[in-house]
């Protein structure tokens, strides 16, 4: 593995090569924003078997990424900048509770994993039994319809392209490719990871 100082550069490079929009603050590498397009089936369903996967237009979130000094030995800190209604995302701070980003992070993971696998996974399979947004978790377990309504409401209100700083500027051909990639990746990840 390359030296830690170069890991940041490589990770950034990989993200950009995969057509993520990365916005750096004064060219600093410790803190930056990445625009994240949620997977298309955005209703966060815990059990795919017991509900039809409804298609809503995927939201766009601006994700704040902070790479600690000890990156990649320490996990990056990931936060949603615009609001999201999700059992495992703190509504106030946007911080994320996800085992692979917190406890089980490994230096073998990189930022591309975060955006291609971990975050899509999180949105598709929220875990209401280990919540950061207790309200969302409770609602999801007790009143699915109301929960879905709320997710959509938040999505429409806060997760449009304008909300992350202007209309999305990708070329359409890239867009399709990206979507395909993502669904592939998340499927793979699901197969390999039966949890939770």
């Amino acid at each position: 593995m390359s030296s830690p100082s170069k890991r940041r550069e490589m990770d950034l490079m990989k993200l950009m090569m995969s057509d993520y929009k990365v916005e750096m603050i004064n060219d600093g590498m410790q803190e930056f924003y990445v625009d994240f397009h949620g997977p298309n089936e955005i209703i966060f369903l815990p059990f795919v078997i017991c509900g039809c996967v409804r298609s809503v237009s995927g939201g766009v979130w601006r994700i704040r990424v902070e790479l600690p000094d000890a990156y990649p030995y320490k996990s990056p800190s990931i936060g949603f900048v615009n609001k999201i209604y999700h059992p495992n995302v703190d509504e106030m701070s946007g911080s994320v509770c996800l085992d692979v980003i917190n406890q089980t992070w490994s230096p073998m993971f990189d930022l591309l994993n975060v955006f291609e696998v971990f975050l899509p996974q999180l949105l598709l399979y929220p875990n209401p039994s280990d919540p950061l947004n207790g309200e969302a978790a409770a609602l999801m377990m007790r009143d699915r319809n109301c929960y879905e309504q709320k997710v959509k409401e938040y999505c429409q209100r806060y997760a449009k392209a304008e909300d992350v700083g202007g209309p999305a500027e990708e070329k359409s051909s890239d867009d399709e490719e990206l979507t395909e990639d993502e669904s592939d990746l998340s499927d793979e990840a699901v197969a390999g990871n039966p949890d939770p």
Binding site: S2, K6, M13, M29, A70, D90, P131
Partner: protein, 1045 residues
């Protein structure tokens, strides 16, 4: 001053002991340490004190010993506190052992030495100065030893030691004794009732040994010092054998044959009987029980399995038997498998030599060496089966030549190990050394051959060291320019070692030590250069001035700067370039990483060490020979995820983390926030309006709570607040049983009541309300609590509890934060009835003050939460270790780590050593285990015909533009895609706007983008380049230095 309580204990013991004739005999020769006429000191310690004290356990000063308590626990500390120890032979080794035991806090230490101080002693005994030459060794050390810990009685014995003295001690240590005497004393100890633990240890030059005999049947209560493993149960089958599955958060650490007890199991309650049950088929997340559970009740939920630690019985052999049949040696270095056996013979030969000639073999004398080899050969012949095929004469020559010298690093290492063995002997905590240990460090000798003339004494305090290493290395030591980073436990030990070795002790040498910390009471139990009266002073300054009293020629400068990127104006290029070696004495990884990175940059050797409880490790970082510190890493510490801490704690750590964050939120952050508001209400509210998000809403809600409902004017208000707060934390429905008891009769529940006290008092501190005296009287306080009108326990609205039945109703809450914020601000403005200049007083968590109620509140809160969740509770001490993140630390492992490092320092300063000569160590004194290994060489990266390591840097000359730099790399077959300086990107091929920079000078871009400040003297800047070769493989190239002027 010595506590009076102990004197009384001794008198009682004197009567009980019964063999009073011994006492009279001894009183004449025992000289009290404290000269201030404390006559009880003249009473000799008695073997029976241990039992006499057992009924009335002595108080442990927990502020002083908190770091050590975290290693040993209270029980071990109490046993230590009741133990009388003899140390015979007070040269360097005796002094180190005495220091470690006095710091640890035994009942008494008796120093025995019949000889007087000579110059050779000054190389290793840090209690002595040149003025002491000619005095009795034991007497010369007493006063300084006493200063380390007034609670320990220090006696001296200056006449010949006879075996009649032995029965006064629980443990005896001999550091300079003939084999004949040793066998006699050991036999006495072995057969004594109860047996006396006998330890014999010698250090001769770069060679040392230890022998332990703790009697025919010694019980070890805790073999490894680890906390018992626990498991949270998920299910138990009604099978034979029963299968226990556990939650899959953490892997189980049970092994087959372990015993476990169950608690809090619901359903299959038969298991809660406290009977230990045997584990078999241990797997990562389940295990079987040797138990037929078919007829047990069906498992419902809950339950914790806790390992029961098994005591171990050890049967020691007496010295006379063990000499003939030494059994397995504790091996420390796999490149020296045959050394222990060789040294076993060599030390016996040396004893014979001294016996025959009445002296040590002369330094550098070939005749004496030959004599010793002959003796060793004949002893080896008599060993029978265990004898060596061949005697390594080269090693024995070194052994003979240096045998008279006591070297400080060896004394530090052996003092640490022997000190720990005494603790084991007194307490049964940790596994003793069984039975012989031999060690040598011949690799520390200079690489060039030393002639007898190099070893001649110079009539200086370094003569002992010169006799082993020669005068050239001595001069190199004295002229060394050394930087010690940190002046804590490791730093103090290093300063002592370096002062004794004479490092930086000439005009041309210089030792710089830096530490930004001040001395606290909890430091005193192992940072032995500090005293009570230094509390609050800067660590580095005090340590440096005390070190100068050990050796007045020490040329030392003390700084109070933390080594970090912010202090690079102090520790600038010329500072680093002037150094010979850097020694880390740090307590955190970040600082270590920083110093490592600086050392790599300036190509300086870095001697790294660290301890954790009984563990210690050392790592040598030598330019071009070894990998750097940052090249390998331990996995980061486990942290509980937020969600678990918030809603689903399942062990006490989670509860404590939560309690501490509540403490900080409630008593520190909110008052600070309130003060922010109060200092400029208009600005505060307008900024909140602008933010207009959920976070702002939350903050405002709390500020309103603080100033409105939570505002306290009298102490009774504080109590009311505290009482009501408990309801918020522990609402009904969460735990009915507990809640009902607290609801009906709050004053009968000590924890609940105590929490009110803590919180009320701390809240009062927040509002600067004086605390009435009755607050500390439980009865009156409970009455005051009763006076609080507790509202009916309707489920509270607006309280976010995940499992609350009412949670769904929350979905109706508006998500329009803006409106809520406006309401709150209006409410805030109503709170204008505050006196002007009113400010709250934020409280910062301080773990080390037992009178500030901080830990009381946190442990109380955590335990109540634990009770709600069915988690076993902990006492305040344990809570303090966890919540205060107290790092366990003891003097023994620290001393040992620094000794090991100083053996390496000889190599670094002499120069010319190969990587095979250096040693990294990992040791665990609890087991005991010592593993030495060669450092790992740096990773070599090859590209085309080039090769480099982390120690290389590429220099490119000329004031290049980015484009020129890219071309320069291209010529090496490297395609750079990213160039950065510090944490800023100068160029990245993916950013179109970076293309505009290509024709700018690298140095200008760095100044503009990375805000790089280039001091006028500096001719270069460094950039990190990420690049690929022509096949698109990433190549990790060295740092590139652009010399622009």
């Amino acid at each position: 001053m010595l506590p009076r309580k102990r004197a009384a204990g001794e008198e009682v013991a004197g009567v009980v002991a019964g063999d009073s004739f011994l006492k009279k005999h001894r009183t004449d020769c025992l000289i009290s340490s404290a000269s201030e006429g404390v006559d009880n000191n003249h009473h000799p310690p008695s073997a029976m004190d241990c039992e006499a004290n057992g009924n009335n356990p002595p108080e442990i000063d927990e502020d002083l010993h908190s770091r050590q308590l975290a290693v040993y626990g209270r029980e071990t500390m109490r046993r230590l506190f009741a133990s009388n120890v003899l140390i015979s032979g007070i040269k360097g080794l005796g002094a180190e052992i005495a220091k470690n035991l006095v710091l640890a806090g035994v009942k008494s230490v008796t120093l025995h030495d019949e000889e007087t101080v000579d110059l050779w002693d000054l190389s290793s005994n840090f209690f002595l100065s040149e003025d002491d030459v000619g005095k009795n060794r034991a007497l010369a050390c007493v006063q300084k030893l006493q200063e380390l810990n007034n609670a320990v009685t220090i006696n001296t014995l200056t006449e010949e030691f006879t075996k009649e003295h032995l029965s006064d001690f629980q443990a005896v240590v001999f550091t300079d004794i003939s084999l004949e005497k040793a066998i006699e004393f050991d036999n006495y100890c072995y057969n004594h009732q109860p047996p006396i633990s006998f330890i014999k240890s010698e250090i001769r030059g770069l060679f040392g040994n230890i022998f332990c005999d703790f009697g025919p049947a010694f019980t070890v209560t805790d073999v490894d010092g680890k906390d018992p493993h626990t498991a949270i149960i998920a299910s138990i089958s009604n099978d034979n054998p029963a299968l226990v599955s556990c939650v899959d958060d953490e892997r189980l650490e049970f092994q087959d044959g372990d015993l476990v007890v169950f608690s809090e199991v619901k359903g299959m309650t038969e298991l809660n009987d406290g009977k230990p049950r045997k584990v078999k088929n241990a797997r990562p997340y389940s295990f079987c029980l040797e138990e037929d559970a078919t007829n047990f009740g069906p498992y419902l939920r809950g339950g914790i399995a806790t390992q029961v630690k098994q005591p171990k019985l050890l049967k020691f052999k007496p010295l006379s038997d063990a000499l003939r049949d030494p059994g397995d040696f504790l091996l420390s270095d796999f490149s020296k498998v045959d050394h222990p056996q060789l040294l076993h013979v060599a030390f016996q030969a040396l004893d014979k030599f001294r016996n025959d000639f009445g002296r040590f073999p002369a330094t550098g004398s070939e005749d004496d060496a030959r004599e010793l080899i002959a003796l060793a050969t004949s002893i080896n012949e008599s060993m029978g089966e265990g004898r060596l095929e061949e005697i390594n004469e080269k090693i024995l020559r070194h052994f003979a030549s240096g045998s008279r010298a006591t070297l400080n690093p060896m004394a530090a290492i052996f003092g640490g190990i022997v000190g720990q063995e005494v603790v084991k002997a007194c307490s049964g905590k940790f596994h003793p050394l069984f039975q012989f240990f031999y060690f040598d460090s011949v690799e520390s000798l200079p690489t060039e051959v030393l002639e007898a003339s190099d070893l001649l004494p110079a009539n200086s305090r370094y003569d002992a060291q010169i006799s082993v290493f020669g005068s050239k290395l001595q001069r190199q030591l004295e002229e060394a320019k050394v930087f010690i980073v940190g002046s804590g436990a490791l730093g103090c030990e290093f300063l002592k070692n370096l002062a004794l070795m004479g490092v930086s002790c000439s005009r041309r040498g210089k030792l710089v030590i830096t530490d930004d910390d001040v001395i606290e009471k909890s430091n005193l139990s192992r940072q032995f250069l500090f005293r009570d009266w230094n509390i609050g002073q800067a660590k580095s300054t005090v340590a440096a001035s005390v070190a100068s009293t050990i050796n007045p020629s020490l040329h030392i400068e003390a700084l109070q700067n933390r080594a970090s990127p912010e202090t690079e104006n102090v520790f600038d290029d010329s500072f680093w370039e002037g150094l010979d070696v850097v020694i880390n004495a740090l307590d955190n990884i970040n600082a270590r990483m920083y110093v490592d990175q600086r050392c790599v940059y300036f190509q300086k050797p870095l001697l790294e060490s660290g301890t954790l409880g009984a563990l210690c490790n050392t790592q040598m970082v030598i330019p071009h020979l070894t990998e750097n510190y940052g090249a390998s890493r331990d996995p980061p510490e486990k942290q509980a995820p937020m969600c678990t801490v918030h809603s689903f704690p399942h062990n006490i750590d989670h509860c404590l983390t939560w309690a501490r964050s509540e403490f900080e939120g409630m008593l520190e952050k909110m008052p600070t926030e309130v003060n922010n508001f109060l200092s400029n209400p208009a600005e505060y509210t307008s900024s909140m309006k602008t933010a207009g998000d959920a976070q702002a809403r939350d903050l405002l809600e709390r500020v309103v709570e603080c100033l409105d409902v939570g505002r306290c004017e009298t102490f009774q208000d504080c109590i009311t607040w505290a009482r009501l707060k408990v309801d918020v934390y522990f609402p009904r429905g969460f735990c009915h049983e507990y809640w009902c008891t607290i609801l009906v009769r709050p004053k009968t529940l000590p924890e609940a009541s105590a929490i009110h006290v803590d919180r009320s008092i701390l809240k009062a501190e927040n509002f600067r309300i004086s605390v009435p005296k009755w607050a500390n009287s439980p009865g009156e306080f409970a009455d005051a609590v009763d006076r609080v009108l507790v509202p009916d326990f309707e489920p509270r609205k607006g309280v976010k509890i995940v499992t609350d039945e009412k949670a769904t109703s929350l979905s109706a809450t508006s998500i329009d934060d803006g409106a809520v914020i406006s309401d709150l601000i209006a409410k805030l403005e109503e709170c204008s009835r505050l006196p002007p200049r009113f400010r709250m007083n934020p409280i910062q968590f301080e773990k080390d003050d037992d009178t500030n109620y901080h830990m009381d509140l946190i442990s109380g809160l955590a335990n109540m939460r634990a009770r709600n969740y069915g988690i076993p509770e902990v006492d305040k001490l344990k809570a303090k270790f966890i919540a205060g993140r107290i790092i366990p630390a003891i003097a023994t492992s620290t001393a040992m780590a620094t000794g090991l490092v100083c053996l390496e320092l000889y190599k670094v300063l002499a120069g010319g050593h190969k990587v095979e000569d250096y040693r990294n160590t990992f040791a665990n004194l609890a087991l005991p285990m010592l593993t030495m290994s060669e450092p790992v060489p740096p990773k070599v990266i090859k590209h085309l015909d080039m090769a480099w390591t982390v120690w290389d840097r590429w220099a490119v000359h000329g004031d290049l533009t980015l484009r020129e730099l890219l071309r320069w790399l291209k010529d090496k077959g490297l395609n750079a895609y990213s160039i950065s300086c510090g944490t800023s990107l100068l160029y990245n091929s993916m950013f179109p706007r970076h293309k505009d920079r290509l024709d700018k000078k690298v140095v200008d871009v760095a100044k503009e983008v990375a805000k790089l400040e280039v001091p006028s003297y500096r001719r270069h800047l460094d950039v990190v380049v990420a690049c690929e070769d022509d096949e698109d493989n990433d190549i990790d190239i060295p740092l590139v230095s652009v010399y622009f002027k």
